[in-house]
Subunit: 354 residues, 4 copies
Amino acid sequence: MSARGEAGHEDAFEPVRIAVVGVGYWGPNLVRNLQELPQAGPVTICDRRSEILERVAVRHPGVRTCLEYDEVLADPAIEAVCIATPTSSHYALAAAALRAGKHVFVEKPLADSAARVRELIELAAEHGRTLMPGHTFLYSPPVNLIRDLIHAGELGEIYFVSTSRVNLGLHQPDASVVWDLGPHDLSILLYWLEELPQQVSAISRSCIYPDTPDVAFLNFIFGSGTIAHVELSWLAPSKLRRTAIVGSEKMVIYDDTSNEPVRVFDSGVDLSDPQTFGEYQLTYRTGDIVSPRVDVAEPLYRELADFCTAVRTGTRPQSSAQLGLQVVEVLEAVDRSLALGGSVETVSSSSFRI
Amino acid sequence: MSARGEAGHEDAFEPVRIAVVGVGYWGPNLVRNLQELPQAGPVTICDRRSEILERVAVRHPGVRTCLEYDEVLADPAIEAVCIATPTSSHYALAAAALRAGKHVFVEKPLADSAARVRELIELAAEHGRTLMPGHTFLYSPPVNLIRDLIHAGELGEIYFVSTSRVNLGLHQPDASVVWDLGPHDLSILLYWLEELPQQVSAISRSCIYPDTPDVAFLNFIFGSGTIAHVELSWLAPSKLRRTAIVGSEKMVIYDDTSNEPVRVFDSGVDLSDPQTFGEYQLTYRTGDIVSPRVDVAEPLYRELADFCTAVRTGTRPQSSAQLGLQVVEVLEAVDRSLALGGSVETVSSSSFRI
Amino acid sequence: MSARGEAGHEDAFEPVRIAVVGVGYWGPNLVRNLQELPQAGPVTICDRRSEILERVAVRHPGVRTCLEYDEVLADPAIEAVCIATPTSSHYALAAAALRAGKHVFVEKPLADSAARVRELIELAAEHGRTLMPGHTFLYSPPVNLIRDLIHAGELGEIYFVSTSRVNLGLHQPDASVVWDLGPHDLSILLYWLEELPQQVSAISRSCIYPDTPDVAFLNFIFGSGTIAHVELSWLAPSKLRRTAIVGSEKMVIYDDTSNEPVRVFDSGVDLSDPQTFGEYQLTYRTGDIVSPRVDVAEPLYRELADFCTAVRTGTRPQSSAQLGLQVVEVLEAVDRSLALGGSVETVSSSSFRI
Amino acid sequence: MSARGEAGHEDAFEPVRIAVVGVGYWGPNLVRNLQELPQAGPVTICDRRSEILERVAVRHPGVRTCLEYDEVLADPAIEAVCIATPTSSHYALAAAALRAGKHVFVEKPLADSAARVRELIELAAEHGRTLMPGHTFLYSPPVNLIRDLIHAGELGEIYFVSTSRVNLGLHQPDASVVWDLGPHDLSILLYWLEELPQQVSAISRSCIYPDTPDVAFLNFIFGSGTIAHVELSWLAPSKLRRTAIVGSEKMVIYDDTSNEPVRVFDSGVDLSDPQTFGEYQLTYRTGDIVSPRVDVAEPLYRELADFCTAVRTGTRPQSSAQLGLQVVEVLEAVDRSLALGGSVETVSSSSFRI
């Protein structure tokens, strides 16, 4: 199944038997979608906290429960694991699963360092298994609609992108807002622009927890000339999910909280060549504004369908491990810049292609 | 007259006789306000372009017209000049006026370099004349209402400020968006926070005119710990004038385009001390939202009244030359950072106090 | 438990054993809330459509299922029924339940005619059982916050109320939009104003289904002088849930779709007595706007808690049968006006007090 | 010049010499536009209040002033008058001007009774002069854009129109809100729908001044089946200028206070014919939303241009006396309904065609 297209033969293969590891906060969403997905088979849930395991099991009749991860790994009936635990544990759990011959889906970010992501990618290649990060926004209809507009050239050259992802909460004591919210915007930018930023500079502040940034302003310069700004914060008077994409032909506002998530503005500046007296002639153009109809498909459902297809057919998922690696490479560059008070950092270009 | 309070004795002195220099785009607004102001006397307008001079004179019956600046300087009946010409000419026109013994009001920014601003300040001191930059927002009721909230401690510690000042147009062929729109936000930040940013980093792009940035993302770190982000652009799908001020006690949204320009959110995070097990306890607080009534006074009117008072009584205007200097010092630091692709630049601290 | 206050002793009594009758569209919401409610005991669900019954049972482990209503009535372990079937069946189902000695909760409107509602009220009295209509908005925090403002006199005299409840869909082939959406606004108006409208006039149109109004404009005049307008429609470009309450002291906007559901405007007109020349002096007052914090409690949960308390303790629920009767009396007057093209109809005042 | 099209030959005729009568509140807008209009010649202003006359003269250099209306009428150099006085004086001033052989433009409403409007129309015919009411919205670009959509059949059958025109103030001691704001919406409805309402019912309240309605809810039924609701009020927490036009094919929101005054929703309900089992099949359609670019022309300028053309060439202006009569006929029917507490009143159909 294509990540964006509608399923043609989604039940043409045997349902994949999956265990969800970690069912505290996000895991139950995976469980619910896997149970509704024809491409997935009976679901196992695994968590060390027995009371949480029990509670989720009650709400999802039919799941098998398991307190020990080792049992999951040892069970030949389980083909794949979906890891929804804190970021710091991603590497160890994913590596163990790959070594046990399981396919692996990991909630974003793939791991807490680029080096570890590279190890996981190598392990996956060695064992011939799928490794996929959960960059859910790559399956969001508005994100894909905008990607289509960009790739069709409708927006012209992309001058810049400016995005704000802020709200009040939820602070995480051991994770920076950059690593928590940042992967969303970075995966979207990579998916839209199909290039890595070359230079990164960023400032942040740890307002509530010491040494845990909860607000950050990130600046990016891409090789093509596109620049981007990303504002991330857990401290804000109201929720904002607003992205402006300004192209030479048209401009787009993407607002995930709105009933009209995509608005296309036929606006821009037309510049004629210098005239006799060397003066440029500018004309501002303000045309129709269109809010195209957007599908209401649940991104997570489509993402897990893509995972199952990758497992069964060996295709590369839209949210690929290579894209997941690039996201982490950029996050590391951001962290280096933050540590130096906003210095310009180069993103260590991965040898992998997106 | 206090810049913010209502006039107590506004006609207690002889009206100031003022010439407005440059009446193309912004100048007519000065003329209109000066004509309505009891503290100002008969207005002279000066512009080399006779047809523009004529057109403005027709709309403002009673003004005297003058094609040559030298005549203005030579006229002993004129006590002060208001300079509303392009930035590059500010220094020469202001210096000549000060030397001729006139008081000087200059549209923002005061001059195109900090060195030249310092020269003007010295000239003003030498000749005992008022030198005042036109940072109009310092006279805007919502800006002052927020300043009062900050200084009364209502917002608590200011964690960060994030602001967007974007719209479609108007490009200026010889001026960066940083020097055109930036002085507004910088003057507001200095006025609110009463401190200079210590470190600046910024990226920009010249999308339409070559070598003329029309979009810029500016990051600031202040000594107190406050950080700030300023987005400036002449390319945007819709006009945005939105500033979020996030404090430890309350948060404020300032939106100059809204019927409710100031919104105060009684929201925040309460963090208790580490408990037995070393874990912090977070509580999110979301209380009432208040849009306080804001006066509808025209900032420009109040600004020119402050200028007249400064001329007559020698008081320091709210929009002081020192603040104008600091704005230009920060702009220069931003330009240095832009030239180096976003490097961290230190603001060369002026010896003047705000 | 008070309908609005927080529960003090909510588990001080034996949980009520309830059967939900009709689990197609709305019924499952009742089931979910009853299962979470400490005041309610094991839940039975009853529906003739076995496949629907089965589907709901799977999602709500622990419920007992029952295909025949007669079994529910015959089961002495079931103390109360919640009827969530189409309006036309309310009377028969409720009457049978009351005769079988059950307490009865009926989704709004109580029945399809005032005569039948009166019969049900008499039956309930005869058998000493609670009869309660499901006017959920009486348990909505914003509705109660506004009621408190009105009753505390904060808004002054209520001049008028204007409300729009429109969206695209869902048409019902056998029910007018007046009987489907109207009970919401009528119950709110009665709850706020504590008086019945004396005169009703209304127009409507059946745009899609013949003889089934899907848009209606209702005008009401109350004895106190307050007037009200209610716009109801299943045909609208976007969802609107907007009520303006204009009082002599303050004005309120209630918008159920907004993050700020209640906004209080300290605005109004002050009129001094006629002066010497017989002229009134008007002053317009525009003060602060406050969005008070509103609890996020689920109205349905609070409503069912109130039902259980009424069953156990004999108290009158906030959403009383008398209020339900008055709603239907007004609906009948609206229908009479519609039939005559908008004539002024008097509401046949019920002998019951609210 | 066509009211909507751009001028082809606007200066093909001799400018019309016009006197503006009444320059207190609205008159100065007429003066300003007439001075900018190439089709209008030197402007005379006439008002009995000498200080007001003087003040307006100072702001509009070049106008001739006149304290006595009789002088205007006696002056052969004045070809036309624009009457901007209170409604009660319209009839007498307009009749005198027509009798003196002047062309007449009257601010809406044309007169305070349909009988008087008919007299004026007859007088105009007798003297071969243009009589034109100032229904400015007929020259508003968004109103015309919507008219074009309706007439091109883009919206399909017009099911209903719902409009709110409310704000805080400005009360007028001797005029109902129905006669003050109502002409705007009535002229727009007549212009769009090209039919008179057949039945009118309305309620109102006089909240501030006795016997002067300041809030009113008007219901209309048209012969074609279209129904309409108009809410008018000088008491409202915030300004609202919102009109929903719901058609069988598309729906439109017209909001005169928005940057996007017209929004076209490709939404609706598709109903298939009854199937085998007699059930209708409904499908809800929600497609793109388009905010078409709207010209920014000033309606008043275009209106006065249309008047000048009518004067010179004898064409019928878009805002015709016949339309002005129909507006007043509807207002009278509304007043009859209000007097009877909301009774259904028939609009006495004028013999004139729109």
